[in-house]
C-alpha cells in the first residue's frame, strides 16, 4: 500500500502557502534560528481575543452606566493586553532553536526531530508545534542559558520519505493572552521505514555466490593485511606503520581487509506476501545483516544495490525500501 497522498492541495490551501512563503521571505529557512525583531510575530491568542471582547463589554457597560469603577476595569484590561504583548515579545526574544538531528523510525513508530533550545534570558513556556496539531507539539516550561534538548515527534507513521514542513515555535507567556510565534523551516527530511517483519535470514545468505563469481568488493576490515596507504589526518595513529616511518620518514597506514565468509542477497521477488509485507521482510533482513556486519546486496524491481556493509549502506537500503513505489 503506497503512502497516502492528499488529493491535490486545494486552491485556497496552495494560495495560503504561497502568501505565507512570500510574507516569510525565506527568513526561517535555516537550521538554527535566534528569535529577534525580524522573526517574531505577536498577536493576541484566542484567549486574548476573548479577553478583549470582555474588555469591550466592560467598557460598554461602564459607559452606559456611567460607572467609573467598571470603566477602570475595562481600561485595566486594555492596558494589560498591551503589556502582555510587550512581555510576550521580550520573553521570546533571544531564544535560539537549533536543529540537531532527525531520527528516522520504523512504521508505525513516528520519526522525531531533535532540537537544542537555549536563551540568554530566561524564556518561559515555549512550545514547538509541527503542523499545528496537539499530538505533535512539545512544551518546555522554561528555557535558560543552559542548553536544553527537545525532541519533537512527527505525525508520520506510514512508510515513506517526508520533507519536514515549517515548524512553529510559539509561546503563550504571559497568562496565555498573547501568542508569540516564529518558524523554523528545516531543509531536511525524515524516513519512516517499513515495519519490521521477522523472517529467517539463512535462506538468503550465500545466495549471491551461486549467482555470480564477481567477488566481493574490497571491504575495510581488520583481519588480513592488504596494502599500505598514505596517512591522512582522520585516520588516527594506531594503524600507522612505524616500521616504514623509521625507514622513510613517511607516514603510511596499514590497510586490512575482511574477507567475508558469507554474503547475502535480499531480493524483493523472493519474499512472500504483498508489497508492504515484502518490504517489511526486506527491512528486517537489512537490519539484521547490518547488525551482524554481513555484506548484502539488495535487489528491488528495477533497482539493485551492490553488496556492501556499514551504516551508510544500511541507511541507503532502508531509504530505498521506504520510498519504493512499485508493486508485486
Amino acid at each position: 500500500m503506497p503512502k497516502k497522498v492528499a488529493k491535490g492541495p486545494s486552491l485556497f490551501k496552495s494560495f495560503k502557502t504561497r502568501v505565507f512563503n512570500k510574507l516569510l521571505k525565506n527568513k526561517h529557512l535555516k537550521n538554527t534560528i535566534t528569535l529577534e525583531h525580524k522573526t517574531i510575530y505577536v498577536l493576541p491568542s484566542s484567549l486574548g481575543w476573548y479577553f478583549i471582547v470582555v474588555a469591550v463589554l466592560n467598557f460598554v457597560m461602564g459607559i452606559n452606566y456611567q460607572n467609573n469603577l467598571i470603566l477602570i476595569m475595562a481600561y485595566l484590561m486594555f492596558v494589560v493586553i498591551i503589556i502582555a504583548v510587550l512581555m510576550g515579545y521580550s520573553n521570546a526574544k533571544g531564544l535560539t532553536v537549533k536543529f540537531k538531528d532527525t531520527f528516522n523510525s520504523f512504521s508505525p513508530q513516528k520519526p522525531q526531530i531533535k532540537f537544542e533550545l537555549q536563551s540568554p534570558n530566561v524564556c518561559q513556556s515555549v512550545s514547538l508545534t509541527y503542523q499545528g496539531t496537539v499530538q505533535t507539539s512539545q512544551h518546555v516550561y522554561q528555557v535558560s542559558s543552559k542548553t536544553q534538548l527537545l525532541s519533537l515527534p512527527l505525525p508520520y507513521f506510514l512508510r515513506g520519505k517526508y520533507d519536514i514542513q515549517r515548524i512553529k515555535i510559539s509561546s503563550n507567556y504571559p497568562f496565555g493572552l498573547v501568542s508569540v510565534w516564529s518558524y523554523i523551516q528545516l531543509q531536511t527530511y525524515v524516513f519512516v521505514y517499513p515495519s519490521l517483519e521477522k523472517v529467517l535470514s539463512d535462506a538468503h545468505v550465500n545466495a549471491l555466490d551461486e549467482q555470480s563469481d564477481n567477488g566481493i568488493a574490497k571491504e575495510v576490515g581488520s583481519d588480513e593485511f592488504e596494502s599500505l596507504l598514505p596517512h591522512l589526518p582522520e585516520m588516527g595513529l594506531h594503524r600507522v606503520s612505524w616500521k616504514h616511518y623509521a625507514k622513510t620518514q613517511q607516514l603510511l597506514v596499514k590497510e586490512f581487509v575482511d574477507y567475508k565468509k558469507a554474503n547475502a542477497l535480499f531480493d524483493f521477488t523472493f519474499m512472500n506476501g504483498d508489497t508492504e509485507q515484502r518490504l517489511s521482510q526486506l527491512c528486517f533482513l537489512v537490519c539484521e545483516a547490518s547488525e551482524q556486519n554481513t555484506p548484502f546486496m539488495l535487489k528491488l524491481p528495477g533497482k539493485i544495490v551492490n553488496t556492501n556493509t556499514g551504516l551508510e549502506h544500511k541507511q541507503h537500503c532502508l531509504a530505498l525500501l521506504s520510498t519504493f513505489k512499485g508493486g508485486v
Binding site: 484566542s46 484567549l47 476573548y50 479577553f51 471582547v53 470582555v54 474588555a55 463589554l57 466592560n58 460598554v60 457597560m61 461602564g62 459607559i63 452606559n64 452606566y65 456611567q66 460607572n67 467609573n68 469603577l69 467598571i70 470603566l71 477602570i72 476595569m73 475595562a74 481600561y75 485595566l76 484590561m77 486594555f78 492596558v79 494589560v80 498591551i82 503589556i83 510587550l86 512581555m87 515579545y89 521580550s90 526574544k93 540568554p120 534570558n121 518561559q124 513556556s125 512550545s127 496537539v134 507539539s137 512544551h139 516550561y141 503563550n172 507567556y173 504571559p174 497568562f175 496565555g176 493572552l177
Partner: protein, 656 residues
C-alpha cells in the same frame, strides 16, 4: 497545548471567587437561586477537595437546565440586569463544574472578568472595590497558573505586579480620555430599599428607622444655613382615610418642568448633593429647589427628579429658595383642603374648636403646635399599631405616642378640616455633619414626614409637630439625639453607629465616613463635567485640544519605556567577593601607567604593581594577602575584611 498542572488550585481559586460573588449578590437575588449557586460552588469545592471526578456532561447539562428553569421562575424577567447577572453566575458555575480542558478554564476566567465588573452595578463602596480588586488579581493568577506550573503564591504575586503596573495607566486613561455619553439606555438594577414611599401610612407601623444606610450627602458651597434641614422629596396631597398619597394630578404636575424664574425669591442655600444609587426617581433638596445639572429636572413644587433611572450614584447642584408664596387659585385651594373621608370626627371637632378660638391662620398654626405640647404627646419609634377608619382620632385622643408620620398625618387632617390648605411632605430631616462641618450625611433613619401649610400673606410654611414633641430631633441626626438615643440604638441593626457612644469608635466612624465621602465624590462622581473642569484647570480652556495629544504621547512613552526596560541587557551576576576591590586597584594601576601582561593572575599582577610602585608596596602586599585569603583561603568576606580592603585601597591610592 499542554495539560494543566495546577487543576486543584485553579478549582479552589475559582470556587473562592464565585463564593465571594455569591455573597455579594445575596441581597439582590432570590434566596432559592442564591442557595442553588452556593450549592454548585460547594459541590465543586467538595469534588476538588476529595479528588473526585467532575460529573459527566449529561448529568451536568440536565442540572443546568433545571437550574435555568428555576432561575427564570425565581428571578423573573422583570429586572433584566439581575437576570443577566444570574445567568452569568449560573453559566460560569456550571461550566466550572464540567471544566476539564484548558479551553474550558479560559472561558470561565474571561467570563469571571465580566462577572466581577457587574458587582459594581450594585455596590461601589470602598470595601467592595478592595475585595473585587483582590478577586481580580486572583483571577489573573488563575490565568497565569493555566499557563505555567508555578504555585498560587508566585502566580498571584506576578499578576499583582502586572496589575499594579497597569493601574496607573488605567487611572490616567480614566482621567484624560474624554467621557462618552451612554450609547443607549440600559435598565438600571432595581434596588429595593428606601425609607420613603409614595404613600404615608404610619398607623400600621410598629417599628421604624432601623437602617443606617446612606441616602445622600450634601456639601454646602458657602456656609450651611441654619438647622433644621427639611430635605423634601415627595409631596402627598390626597388623604384616603388612612394614608396620604400623591394624587395623579400632582404626579402630572410633578412632571412639568420648571419654567418659573423668580429671582426675588429669598435665597437660602446652594449646595451639591451626591445621591446614593436608588431605583426611585425622587431626589432631595431644601425648600424650593432648582437644579441646572444634567439628568435632573426640577418641577413646580420645588422638588427634584431624576430624568432617567440610573443605577449609579448621582451628583447634582441645587439652589434653594424659600417656598412659594404665590396665592393659590381656587382649584388649588379646593384640592389642598379636600378630605375624602371624614371618619375622624374628634379630630374634625378639635379643628373646629381651634378655628373658633383663633382669628388668623397663623394663630391656628401656633395653637395647634401648643395643643401637641399641652396634651403630653410623646415621640417614639415603637408606636402601637392602630387600625380602623378613625386612626387619627385614636392617635390624637388615645395613644398620643407616635413618630413623625403620625403627627404629620394628624396635623394635616386638622388643617384641612379647618379649611386651611395643607399637604404632607416627606423626605429626610437633618443629617450628620462631618468633622469639618461642611458635609451632611443623611441616612435612611433620618426619614421624616411633615406638613406644609399655606398661610395667607406668608405662603407655604412648614408645620412639624415633631419639633415641639421632640425638639432635639430638629437639630442634627437621630444618631446625635440624646433623648432618643437609647431607643434609637436598640432599634438599629448592629453597626458602627450603634457604638457611637465610644469616642474612639465614633471618631473612627466619622473618619471612615469622610473617606467614603471623598470616594464617592472623587472616584464615583467623576463625570463629564468634573473631567472638563479638571482638564481646564490643568491646561486652561484654550489649550484643551492638547489633551488627546498628551494622552497619546504619555501612553506611548509609558509603553516604550516599559519595553526598553524589558529588553535591557540583564545586569551581570553578582561579582565574587574582593573582585570589585581588585578591579579598583587595576584601575589605579592603569592611571599610574603600570602595564602588566594580560595573562597574569591577580596575585602576579599585584606583584608587578608592587615592583613598579614601591611607595605603596606594603599596602599592596597586604591587599594581596587579603585577596588570597578571601578568594582562595576560604575565609569569609566579613565586614571587618571589607573595611580593611577599603582602607588598603585608600592607602594605595594616596601613597606617593
Amino acid at each position: 497545548m499542554h495539560e494543566i498542572k495546577n487543576e486543584k488550585v485553579i478549582n479552589y481559586s475559582m470556587c473562592f471567587i464565585y463564593a465571594c460573588l455569591v455573597i455579594f449578590f445575596i441581597a439582590h437575588l432570590p434566596v432559592v437561586f442564591i442557595s442553588v449557586l452556593a450549592v454548585i460552588c460547594a459541590w465543586n469545592f467538595y469534588l476538588t477537595y476529595n479528588n473526585k471526578p467532575k460529573p459527566n456532561s449529561i448529568l451536568a447539562n440536565i442540572l443546568a437546565g433545571a437550574a435555568l428553569v428555576l432561575m427564570l421562575f425565581s428571578v423573573g424577567m422583570s429586572d433584566t440586569v439581575i437576570l443577566l447577572v444570574a445567568m452569568l453566575m449560573l453559566s460560569s458555575l456550571f461550566k466550572l463544574l464540567q471544566a476539564k480542558t484548558k479551553k474550558h478554564y479560559h472561558v470561565i476566567t474571561t467570563l469571571t472578568f465580566f462577572s466581577l465588573s457587574s458587582v459594581y452595578l450594585f455596590n461601589q463602596s470602598i470595601l467592595t472595590t478592595l475585595t473585587v480588586s483582590g478577586l481580580y488579581i486572583l483571577n489573573f493568577a488563575v490565568l497565569g497558573l493555566l499557563e505555567s506550573k508555578h504555585n498560587l503564591k508566585i502566580a498571584s504575586k506576578q499578576s499583582g505586579k502586572l496589575l499594579l503596573l497597569a493601574l496607573p495607566l488605567a487611572i490616567f486613561l480614566l482621567l484624560f480620555l474624554p467621557k462618552m455619553p451612554a450609547f443607549w439606555q440600559l435598565p438600571g438594577p432595581k434596588l429595593a430599599k428606601t425609607g420613603l414611599s409614595e404613600q404615608v401610612d404610619p398607623f400600621d407601623i410598629a417599628k421604624l428607622s432601623n437602617s443606617d444606610e446612606l441616602v445622600f450627602r450634601a456639601t454646602f458651597n458657602n456656609s450651611a444655613p441654619n438647622a433644621p434641614y427639611y430635605w423634601r422629596a415627595i409631596v402627598h396631597d390626597e388623604f384616603n382615610g388612612n394614608a396620604w398619597l400623591t394624587s395623579d394630578f400632582l404626579k402630572y404636575n410633578n412632571l412639568k418642568s420648571n419654567s418659573k424664574n423668580d429671582i426675588d425669591e429669598q435665597f437660602i442655600a446652594s449646595y451639591s448633593v451626591i445621591a446614593e444609587p436608588a431605583s426611585q426617581k425622587w431626589l432631595y433638596g431644601l425648600f424650593y429647589s432648582r437644579s441646572e445639572s444634567q439628568n435632573v429636572e426640577s418641577n413646580t413644587l420645588g422638588l427634584l427628579r431624576k430624568k432617567n433611572y440610573q443605577a449609579k450614584s448621582l451628583q447634582y447642584d441645587v439652589t434653594s429658595t424659600g417656598l412659594t408664596s404665590t396665592p393659590l387659585n381656587d382649584f388649588e385651594n379646593k384640592r389642598y383642603t379636600y378630605l375624602a373621608h371624614k371618619k375622624n370626627v374628634k379630630a374634625a371637632s378639635l379643628a373646629k374648636d381651634l378655628k373658633q378660638n383663633t382669628q388668623t391662620d397663623r394663630q391656628f398654626y401656633n395653637h395647634l403646635l401648643q395643643y401637641f405640647v399641652d396634651n403630653k404627646f410623646t415621640y417614639t419609634l415603637t408606636p402601637t399599631p392602630m387600625s380602623g377608619d378613625n386612626t387619627i382620632d385614636q392617635f390624637l385622643f388615645d395613644n398620643k405616642r407616635g413618630f413623625c408620620g403620625h403627627y404629620a398625618s394628624a396635623a394635616a387632617y386638622i388643617f384641612r378640616s379647618a379649611g386651611i390648605p395643607a399637604r404632607l411632605a416627606s423626605g429626610y430631616l437633618g443629617g450628620e455633619l462631618n468633622l469639618d462641618n461642611s458635609t451632611l450625611s443623611v441616612r435612611q433613619y433620618d426619614a421624616h414626614a411633615w406638613v406644609e401649610v399655606y398661610i395667607h400673606s406668608e405662603g407655604w410654611v412648614v408645620f412639624d409637630a415633631t419639633a415641639v414633641v421632640a425638639p432635639e430631633r430638629l437639630n442634627g441626626s437621630l444618631s446625635q439625639n440624646e433623648a432618643l438615643n437609647t431607643e434609637f440604638k436598640s432599634n438599629l441593626d448592629f453597626g458602627l453607629v450603634s457604638l457611637s457612644n465610644f469616642p474612639g469608635i465614633n471618631w473612627l466612624r466619622l473618619e471612615l465616613e469622610n473617606l467614603d465621602y471623598q470616594w464617592s465624590s472623587w472616584v464615583l462622581g467623576f463625570d463629564k463635567q468634573k473631567q472638563n473642569d479638571f482638564l481646564k484647570s490643568l491646561f486652561g480652556s484654550r489649550n484643551i485640544w492638547l489633551v488627546p495629544l498628551i494622552v497619546l504621547l504619555t501612553i506611548g512613552i509609558c509603553f516604550i519605556a516599559y519595553f526598553v526596560y524589558l529588553n535591557l541587557p540583564k545586569r551581570a551576576t553578582k561579582l565574587a567577593p574582593m573582585v570589585k576591590e581588585f578591579y579598583e586597584i587595576q584601575k589605579w594601576a592603569q592611571k599610574q601607567n603600570i602595564k602588566t601582561p594580560k595573562h597574569l593572575t591577580p596575585s602576579q599582577q599585584l606583584q608587578v604593581y608592587m615592583e613598579q610602585s614601591p611607595q605603596s608596596a606594603q599596602s599592596l602586599s597586604a591587599f594581596s594577602q587579603l585577596f588570597n585569603q578571601v578568594r582562595y583561603g576560604k575565609k569569609s568576606f566579613t565586614n571587618e575584611r571589607k573595611t580593611q580592603a577599603k582602607d588598603l585601597i585608600k592607602l594605595i591610592k594616596t601613597s606617593k
